[in-house]
């Protein structure tokens, strides 16, 4: 780990020593401007001596082509196997060098005449053009198309992976449902329920906490975990957790606790609906039930009173419908 890190550092240190791409681009543009200036100067000013002429043409062309060559070369090196682009790049450079140096040498040494400006200029121009097309345009185009192809392939792969993931998520949810339905072990059930909850929250988005629906979801989960029951929750709309909504939430918790501890069934249903005019909650089980008119039941009436009391404090109402053997329904209504 440490070694790899140190290596990385020396590597980047060397990179820092090289000319940054930004400077290369700037230089390249200076070169291009100079090319324009030079072509204007050749037509409009008297020709200087051959040596000045030749060296200024070479310098300007070098400045216009060189930086771009370095940039493309670096990208070829970085993308490792440049493939055909690398071959074109290196061959073009070799030919450009041969023509660029060969032309003037031929003109000065081999020919009878002491100086042939046309041959020098033509060979320099061809060399520059060759470097431009073979060393910059073609490899750059190749690298660009290859990047696009790669990106497209990556996108196709990502889509495939998403489809597989969707199927897998379904399978896992399915397996967790089957486990909860068939096992008699409370601990296993709790584990499967918790995992299913987490997966669903991740897949379908966690309900915004801090509002009424978030609060109801949290209460339902808390009751599920504490009493090993399933709370089937359906919510429609939501509202901020102001004092009346908090009172309803407290009453829902009381009703759920009551159902989980006394009804003798493993499933309780909750429905909440928030509209502009009213907050409605229904809590229902198919359990034992009780006779609401009897005051002295085993602490049932007490719980019922605390639900009614909570609601009444904030101007709401609670109706408890129950009969022995017929389950219990608690209906809570609160106007904001």
């Amino acid at each position: 780990m440490c070694r790899a890190r140190r290596w990385h550092r020396t590597c980047s240190a060397r990179d820092d020593g090289a000319v940054s791409p930004r400077w290369l681009v700037a230089l390249g543009f200076v070169g291009l401007v100079l090319v324009v200036w030079l072509s204007w100067a050749i037509g409009h000013t008297p020709a200087p001596g051959p040596v000045v002429m030749f060296s200024s043409v070479v310098a300007v062309l070098g400045l216009a082509v060189g930086p771009w060559l370095i940039l493309v070369g670096r990208r070829l090196v970085r993308s490792a196997a440049g493939g055909p682009a690398g071959v074109i790049f290196s061959r073009s450079l070799v030919f450009a060098a041969i023509i660029g140096f060969g032309g003037p040498i031929l003109a000065i040494v081999a020919l009878d005449e002491p100086y042939s400006p046309t041959l020098v200029m033509v060979s320099t121009a061809i060399s520059g053009l060759l470097a431009l097309v073979g060393g910059i345009v073609l490899p750059w185009g190749y690298l660009l198309t290859r990047t696009i192809t790669k990106e497209r392939a990556a996108r196709v792969r990502a889509e495939e992976r998403a489809a597989v993931a969707a199927h897998l998520h379904d399978s896992v949810l399915q397996a967790l449902t089957v486990i909860q339905k068939r096992t008699e072990e409370p601990e296993v059930r709790r584990l499967a329920r918790g995992t299913e909850r987490e997966l669903r929250a991740w897949l379908y988005g966690i309900p915004a906490s801090g509002d009424f629906t978030g609060g109801v979801t949290a209460v339902a989960e808390e009751i599920e975990d504490r009493y090993d029951v399933v709370v089937e929750l359906v919510t429609v709309g939501t509202c901020p957790l102001d004092p009346p909504a908090t009172a309803v939430l407290g009453a829902i918790r009381e009703a759920l606790t009551n159902a989980a501890t006394h009804a003798g069934v493993r499933r309780v249903s909750v429905f909440t609906e928030t509209t502009d005019t009213e907050l409605l909650a229904l809590i229902r089980d198919r359990g034992r039930g009780f006779d609401p008119s009897v005051h002295t039941g085993p602490d049932r009436r007490g719980v019922a009173d605390s639900i009614v009391g909570r609601m009444a404090q904030h101007g709401g109402s609670a109706v408890i419908r129950s009969a022995p053997g017929e389950g219990t329904e608690v209906e809570l209504r609160m106007s904001p």
Binding site: Q174, P207, V236, G237, F271, L282
Partner: protein, 211 residues
Amino acid sequence: MNIRVFVVDDHTVVRSGVRAEVGDLVDIVGEAGDVQAAITGIRDVEPDVVLLDVHLPDGGGRAILDAVAPTHPHIRFLALSVSDAAEDVLAVIRGGAHGYVTKAISGPELYEAITRVHAGDAYFSPRLAGFVLDAFRGTAPPGMDPELDLLTPRERDVLRLVAVGYTYKEVGARLSISARTVETHAAAVLRKLRLSNRRELSRWATARRLI
């Protein structure tokens, strides 16, 4: 004679689960794990009811509905899913399914749902009832037929009780109306769901996902 049922699901565990839960009460006449096999199979055996997974590779339950429902109007579809995505569920209902249940449903409840759908009634699970109430919330936007796009107070009452787990019979007893009236209300809701403005519903579904 037992109801003839065809099961479409890409998870074998679901198909065997359905067999285990209701195999004694209905005749399972075929099953399939993908769209093409399902279309061929359903056309071959012409079952009474198809249990249709909402999420399938190659197009989902909707593709099967689109292929089979127009040519075989007597076959009823009941959507079955572990998914919580409201827009997927509503899409299958709008495509012609008569009901929707989650896979956590118990055997007796699943049998009840199959019987209802076979009789041509709508079957709402608590979750679907919640989705529908959510979809029809508030007042109708201007320019739309309010008769078509809003639920009546009675239909809302029915859906609320379904959402908290009441059967149609219990809903009837609780609201002092007959079970047949409850069925009529459910059928009306299903019709409104299919006819309501598609753009409105999809906008609602998108907004819900963003919450």
